[in-house]
Amino acid sequence: MQVKITVNGQPREDAVEPRMLLVHYLRDVAGLTGTHVGCETTLCGACTILMNGQAVKSCTMLAVQADGAKLTTIEGLAKNGQLHPLQEGFWEKHGLQCGFCTPGMIMAAVDLLSRNKNPSDEEIRHALEGNLCRCTGYQHIVEAVQYAAHKMR
């Protein structure tokens, strides 16, 4: 099937199998491997991206369901070589170790900060409930999000 999808501002047109998962479309067709697959079952959040500005788990959707949508992946977050405040926050606050959960974690946090400019630590933890991290114990992730929230206010 033919799909038209805008990925990180670039319009694309591709032929995909109807059963192809959106995450595989991004990784294998669009060649954007920053979005990771940790479970394929909507449980880990590693595949989180923005679809029309909202966080979605791209393993839970088919590529054909994104027809006509605007997607943002981790690769599209920095603008003109300038890191997004969340990327900066994760770096400054040591919010990542192995980095595998990080792209999904950052995208979920982008969604949170677009809805809530001034989240409490509790609200951050709550918002990131769908994103698992086995390395950090989350504390530095919370600090990273606070760093970005502060910077974006």
Binding site: R27, H36, G38, W91, Q97, F100, R134, G137, V142
Partner: protein, 782 residues
């Protein structure tokens, strides 16, 4: 140019992060090669069954399928998977099962196809006939007469047995005023790194060379084992551990898929990729822990422990993976913890069950020991009506007693257990908390305060302590290369996968050479680039790999000083490295730019006669002993008696890992470790049902902590350096996991004390706690 700061000890943000926060890291699944094929595996749905037939014909006919193989097809073509640790009974472990399957997830067949979807489709076309056999799920029952045998040829389900009762043990036990006996379960856990395993294998026919990308913690050790299995020279296999998304010990192994992909890439002469699904990761990547222990402890009325006897039933699973039978020995060795235990006796039974193999999982044997001894301390305290802190103080190895040889025969390097304890008690406000707890109890609120004073063992060495079959000792390696433009390349034999040595090793090198960390590039994880190394596990990387780096730097420094001394006409002993120069120690204004020395070394300007050109050096550090980090963790929890739910009120961690290269990284290791340890205490448990079906086969059923389940941790350090390495560092990768599990368990038990509850096995889920409270209430009434 501005003066350069000192980097060691600074919270430098990580140099590996820019690529990872922008999605530019390359994990195995991101490797793409022209003409690459994709593999998928068919796995056993039964815990124990005879394989009567595997029919691959439909799969082979499926469009896009290149090949499909069963265990029988591979007979005689791929040797058994290696277990390098000694055991009396080491079973054959074929990469694809032959004759029988022995656990749910045991690989039965492999399909290689042009794309991953097709490979998985073809798996569904395989018809395999199994004759189910009774499964052995419980390690204790596996030893009973008449239990079904997992490996018939041994006539037993015992993989190995070890016993130690030192002379004088019975006397020590008889000197006790009191004894206690209890049973502890250290439940099986699923490591659950966020990146599942994956392999890409590429046979370069013209070069007769195999390149294998694997999500591994041990590229060189893996290469050695694969060379054996695939009958290739070690110089003809290149293993690359690219970005690795967490390992926690479960990627310290040699897996069937690594051997299969290597073998098939050579057979088919095409590159092949295999990426583990999460379900496979839960079922067929090694698990951890899985001990049942019967403890007998003898103690004096003042709390002094006279003797401990521990009888272990250790669940090996169906096969022995790389180090499976070695893990429990760390438990036995660490039972005495940070205490002068009068005498220790133990018996360990290593038992086959119809489950995935256990092996190293963060802490690897030490969390089991720490849980045992720290629960024991609290049991003794409860029995004597003493404060758990007092019992610990009574038994501590005093700080002036180091080096200290424990009842298990290990020599601890250094420690100040009281120091860490006192600091943690002050931070948490212990005495005040106890008062608050008493007041809360009056109001029907159940607060619990749990303490654990842990010690653990890191950087296992010297080499004699490691099994020879591992083909790698207790040492670690480094190479330092000063390039012609004065930029520095560091090649380390450790294989970081989140720990951050690209940063901390750059800090070490920058300080040694008086240059900026941005002038240093740390490379690792590629056996074609890096000299042989052992890898990252057992909290060894900085203590051993960092020391190898210091040694290699020393050699390079020496050569640079020789050259500088000739250029400056001063004795080399008077020279120091500072601010991109080599300077006179007594008068740093008398200096020569580093670049001048490098130019001379490479001979393109002012070559120095008699000095061999070039500027690089390698070093291998063989430790003379292990390091023993320690600390005190204190958790404050509240248990809701209506629901059994546990809520964290405080968590204080005072850790001592010796000297610290980068406090940011140390905090990160500890916080992540603590989250994993409290996961074991409260949430995590690998469950197989009585038929050996894996119940916890998804992230829905296996509860790793989410952000809301982990408290904010109040952290501090004490610093007691080791004298076993020049950096004074001990290791920190596993400390948090080791210290936190008993701390949280002790806190929950402390909260439940008013009910008369002494012990509940982990994980301390609300339901279990609620039940225990109900039973305790019933018992009181009855």
């Amino acid at each position: 140019m501005a003066a350069l700061p000192k980097f060691i000890g600074q919270p430098i943000r990580r140099r590996e992060d820019p690529r990872l926060i922008t999605g530019e890291g390359t994990y195995v699944d991101d490797v793409k090669l022209a003409g690459m094929l994709h593999a998928a595996l068919m796995r056993s749905p039964y815990a124990h069954a005879k394989i009567s037939s595997v029919d691959l014909s439909a799969a082979r006919k499926h469009p896009g399928v290149i090949c499909a193989l069963s265990g029988e097809d591979l007979a005689g073509r791929l040797p058994s998977l290696p277990c390098v640790a000694p055991a009396q009974n080491v079973p054959e472990h074929p990469a694809l099962a032959r004759g029988k399957v022995r656990y749910v997830g045991d690989a039965v067949a492999i399909v290689v196809a042009t794309d991953p979807y097709t490979a998985r489709d073809a798996i569904d076309l395989i018809t395999a006939d199994f004759d189910p056999l009774p499964a052995v799920v419980d390690a204790e029952k596996a030893l009973q007469p008449g239990a079904p045998l997992i490996h018939e040829n041994f006539g037993t389900n015992l993989a190995a047995k070890a016993e130690m009762t030192p002379p004088g043990f019975d006397k020590a036990m008889s000197e006790a005023d009191k004894t206690l006996k209890f049973r502890l379960v250290n439940q099986r856990l699923t490591p659950t790194m966020m990146e599942p395993r994956g392999v890409v294998a590429h046979w370069e026919h013209g070069y007769k060379q195999l390149t294998l990308w694997s999500s591994t913690q041990i590229p060189h050790l893996l290469r050695s084992q694969l060379a054996d299995m695939l009958k290739l020279g070690e110089n003809k296999i290149r293993v690359i551990a690219p970005e690795v998304g967490g390992g926690f010990g479960a990627k310290l192994n040699v897996y069937a898929e690594e051997a299969l992909l290597g073998y098939l890439a050579m057979e088919l002469d095409r590159p092949i990729k295999w990426i583990e699904t999460r379900r496979e990761n839960m079922a067929a990547t090694t698990h951890g822990r899985g001990h049942v222990t019967y403890v007998e402890v003898g103690f004096k009325n003042d709390g002094a422990i006279t003797a401990i006897k521990a009888k272990f039933f250790c669940d090996m699973g169906a096969y022995l993976q790389l180090l499976t039978p070695a893990i429990p020995s760390f438990t036995a060795l660490m039972v005495p913890g940070c205490y002068r235990v009068g005498a220790l006796a133990f018996e360990q039974n290593l038992i086959f069950t119809n489950k995935m193999a256990t092996d190293a999982y963060r802490g690897a044997g030490r969390p089991e020991a720490c849980y045992l001894i720290e629960r024991t301390m609290d049991m003794v305290a409860a029995e004597l009506g003493m404060d758990p802190v007092q019992v610990r103080r009574k038994n501590f190895i005093p700080k002036d007693a180091f080096p200290f040889t424990t009842a298990a025969g290990l020599q601890y390097d250094s420690g100040d257990y009281e120091g860490a304890l006192n600091k943690a008690l002050a931070m948490v406000g212990y005495d005040k908390l106890r008062t608050e707890q008493a007041a809360a109890r009056q109001q029907g609120r159940y607060l619990g305060i749990g303490v654990s004073t842990y010690v653990e063992i890191c950087g296992i060495g010297p080499s004699a302590l490691l099994p020879p079959k591992l083909k790698g000792g207790g040492w670690e390696s480094a190479t330092v290369r000063v390039e012609p433009d004065s930029k520095v390349t560091v090649l380390t034999g450790v294989s970081p996968h989140g720990q951050g040595q690209e940063t901390s090793f750059a800090q070490i090198a920058a300080d040694a050479l008086g240059i900026d960390i941005d002038d240093i590039n740390v490379l690792h994880g590629d056996t074609a680039i890096v000299q042989y190394g052992i890898g990252t596990f057992g909290s060894r990387a900085t203590a051993l790999g960092g020391t190898a780096l210091v040694m290699a730097l020393g050699k390079v420094q020496e050569k640079m000083k020789t050259i500088a001394s000739r250029l400056m006409e001063v004795p080399p002993q008077q020279l120091i490295f500072t601010n991109r120069t080599i300077a006179l120690a007594s008068d740093p204004s008398k200096s020569i730019p580093l670049q001048k020395v490098v130019e001379a070394a490479y001979g393109y300007k002012q070559p120095i006669p008699g000095v061999e050109p070039g500027l690089d050096a390698s070093a291998f550090f063989e430790p003379s002993g292990c390091t023993f980090p320690f600390g005190t963790h204190i958790a404050v929890v509240e248990v809701d008696p209506q629901t059994g739910a546990v809520k964290f009120l405080r968590y204080v961690a005072v850790d001592d890992c010796g000297k610290i290269i980068n406090p940011l990284l140390v905090d990160g290791q500890l916080q992540g470790g603590i989250a994993q340890g409290l996961g074991q205490a409260l949430y995590e448990e690998t469950v197989y049902d009585e038929n050996g079906q894996l119940v916890t086969a998804s992230l829905m059923d296996y509860a790793i902590p989410k952000a809301q389940m982990v408290p904010a941790i109040e952290m501090a350090n004490t610093v007691t350096p080791t004298n076993l390495n020049p950096l004074g560092v001990k290791g920190v990768g596993e400390a948090g996991t080791i210290g936190s599990t008993p701390c949280v368990a002790n806190a929950v038990m402390d909260a439940l004390k008013p009910f008369g509850i002494r012990h509940i096995d982990m994980p301390l889920k609300p339901e279990k706690i609620w039940r225990a409270i109900q039973e305790a209430k019933q018992a009181k009434k009855g």
